[in-house]
Amino acid sequence: MSMIRVENLHKHFGGFHAVDGATLEIAEGSITGLIGPNGAGKTTLFNVIAGVLPPTSGTVTMLGDSITGLPPHELFHKGLLRTFQIAHEFHSMSVRENLMMVPPRQSGENLWDAWFKGGKVAQEEAAIRKRADEVLEFLTIDHIADEKAGQISGGQKKLLELGRTMMTDAKVVFLDEVGAGVNRTLLNTIADAIVRLNREKGYTFVVIEHDMDFIGRICDPVICMAEGKVLAEGTLDQIKANEAVIEAYLGTGLKNKVKDGVA
């Protein structure tokens, strides 16, 4: 069964059709790359699937159940996680707290328990804190664990976005350009982690990226969107060879490749 199925989805802003009849399928257990020119509608598609925006028309199903128009917090509890292209950190909280707030069903989030069941809450907290510290270490940002998230560098915020998805068990994770602004060496480590999570825990990933190396390293299959529709689908090599994709998205490299021109 496919993890996510999007059928004839439309999202219109006024007269503008940001997503214009997209139909696609994300296989369970895959790491699907989603590429396409700027403004192709990738982020909008994510937002509709994740319940941030209501669709104009069309349906989304997850493991066969319709999730069209469900609010984001319900989707989260169904195991659908996502990151934001423009970092959405909790700016006045420390980096560690940003992670610790993620795990669902914390009993301390219930006022009654918070007031009268201190012991139970403290126990849970210790476990959550340990997990957060592990994630921070993995992302090489453990030294800023106590900084306010509003005051960390742009790339660090991106890492934090990714870190939040690692705080809980998910079924499918949508990554919206986690790589933009992240150091390439670190990005490789992240790529390995994604693959590991996919293998070991069976998470499905959908990855928007403009870095073809990164896509090539982890994704199969790859979907290319353009103008709100699916332009091409297949392995990365197939996509790279697709004329339409080259014209709309990949281009043919630098014209002024070497400064002061060889020619």
Binding site: V52, P72, F76, M100, Q106, E109, W115
Partner: protein, 432 residues
């Protein structure tokens, strides 16, 4: 709390002690009692703004609703009024509620479209007509019963302390409705909506005389603490006065005032314990996350709408509780006195000056601002006298300035506020 916090509270206590020593202990306790109530209101607003970033400018309405509870609980019923129209007034109310419910049912059942709109309007209009046909004459009849001192249904005649939790419940109920309707709005739009709703609440209190006596005020409400006048007759008070070397009336006032102070402090202590514990738990972390970034909190699985509603109801309930406490201390409900400046904006000043997002800050803000609100008057006069002391006696300017000394009250308040904000822009005890 930090050392700075302890220091500031100590300073505040010192200021009150100075009032006691140099002005009078009765005054110090009068200020203390209202400060305690203000601190509770500030705690309520801090829950909404400091925890959740909800811009509620309807504090006045919730305070007033809490106050109304005191009348409805503690006042003796007026049998003549009940006989004149009590039953039909209640029936009218129920009809009103029923027609709103009917409209909601129509909204839920019918598909979207013109038919639904028309049906809802139809239900509401019919409901309005029927309701007012029953309700109007009933209230007229009630208000005609001995209008000079009654003209309303009265209350249940229960012990007045019971009115405090009921006041909180009333406010919570109103807040639930308000929240359901308006919490979809953001920041300033929520502010003006809540402000509007609080004005509506006050209008109801002012015009529905059958319930609250409207602008005619309800006075002489039962008190939770024995009044000084009665205490003066008590032998132990008289002997206490002798030991202290005070007059009996002063002793009685102080004793009675301390009685209130004890009750209020108890309530405040419980509230602050609960608030601190909640704020420093995962619940508090979740609220801060929601405040910082709602979109993201939603994506992280938090039901923002529900949490907002809950905190809105909770904070409003605290304001309602304070409102009920205030009315039971004053012994009267005066709907005409509920003004946004005094019951909404002043409370906001307390929260912000104290330090929003910090419970102790809000409490300190309640104390400091109320203290200033009362004490800037003599300060302003004193300042004016200082300014004019150099001028020739009998000069027009001096006369004008001295006669304008009353306006120094708000001016001084403004200067004090600006100074505090300047030197502690994040509040006296800021959020960490």
């Amino acid at each position: 709390m930090t050392a700075r916090g302890y220091g500031l509270f100590a300073l505040m206590a010192l200021a009150l002690a100075c009032v006691g020593a140099f002005q009078s202990w009765q005054l110090a306790i009068t200020i203390l009692n209202m400060s305690l109530i203000s601190a509770i209101m500030a705690l309520g607003v801090n829950m909404q703004w400091g925890y959740a970033g909800l811009f509620n400018v309807g504090v006045m309405g919730f305070t007033a609703v809490g106050g109304l509870a005191v009348v409805l609980i503690a006042q003796p019923p007026v049998p003549e009024a009940w006989a004149a129209g009590g039953a039909s007034a209640l029936l009218g109310l129920m009809l009103g509620v029923a027609s709103i419910l009917a409209a909601v049912v129509v909204y839920k059942r019918l598909p979207k479209g013109r038919l639904r709109g028309l049906a809802i309007i139809g239900v509401l209009v019919a409901g309005y007509l029927v309701t007012s046909a029953v309700f109007g004459p009933a209230t007229k009849a009630i208000e005609a019963v001995n209008p000079a001192s009654e003209g309303y249904l009265g209350g249940l005649g229960l012990p007045v302390v019971l009115a405090w939790p009921v006041g909180a419940l009333f406010a919570a109920g109103v807040a639930w409705v308000v929240g359901k309707v308006s919490l979809g709005l953001r920041s300033d739009y929520l502010a003006i909506a809540t402000l509007g709703i609080s004005e509506i609440v006050i209008a109801v209190l002012k015009f529905e005389g059958w319930m609250s006596r409207g602008v005619n005020n309800v006075s002489g409400i039962d008190r939770p603490v024995t009044r000084p006048v009665e205490l003066q007759a008590a032998p132990w008070v008289q002997s206490l006065a002798e030991t202290l070397g005070w007059s009996v009336s002063q002793t009685a006032s102080v004793v009675s005032g301390l009685g209130y102070a004890g009750l209020f402090a108890l309530v405040l202590a419980v509230l602050i314990w609960l608030s601190e514990r909640a704020w420093n738990s995962p619940w508090g972390r979740m609220m801060r996350a929601i405040r910082d970034n709602e979109v993201s909190a939603r994506a992280m699985g938090k039901n923002v709408t529900q949490r907002h509603l809950a905190i809105f109801v909770l904070g409003s309930a605290v304001c309602g509780l304070a409102g009920a406490m205030m009315v039971s201390m004053d012994g009267q409900l005066t709907p005409g006195s509920y003004e946004p400046l005094r019951f909404t904006f002043l409370i906001w000043v307390m929260v912000i000056v104290g330090g929003s997002g910090n419970n102790w800050g809000a409490v300190l803000g309640g104390f400091v601002i109320w203290f200033l609100w009362v004490q800037v008057e003599p300060a302003g006069r004193w300042f004016m006298e200082l300014v004019t002391s150099g001028m020739a006696d009998g000069s027009d300017l001096k006369a004008h300035l001295l006669s304008s000394a009353s306006y120094m009250r708000l001016l001084t308040m403004g200067v004090a506020l600006l100074l505090m904000l300047r030197f502690a822009p994040r509040g006296l005890i800021p959020e960490r």
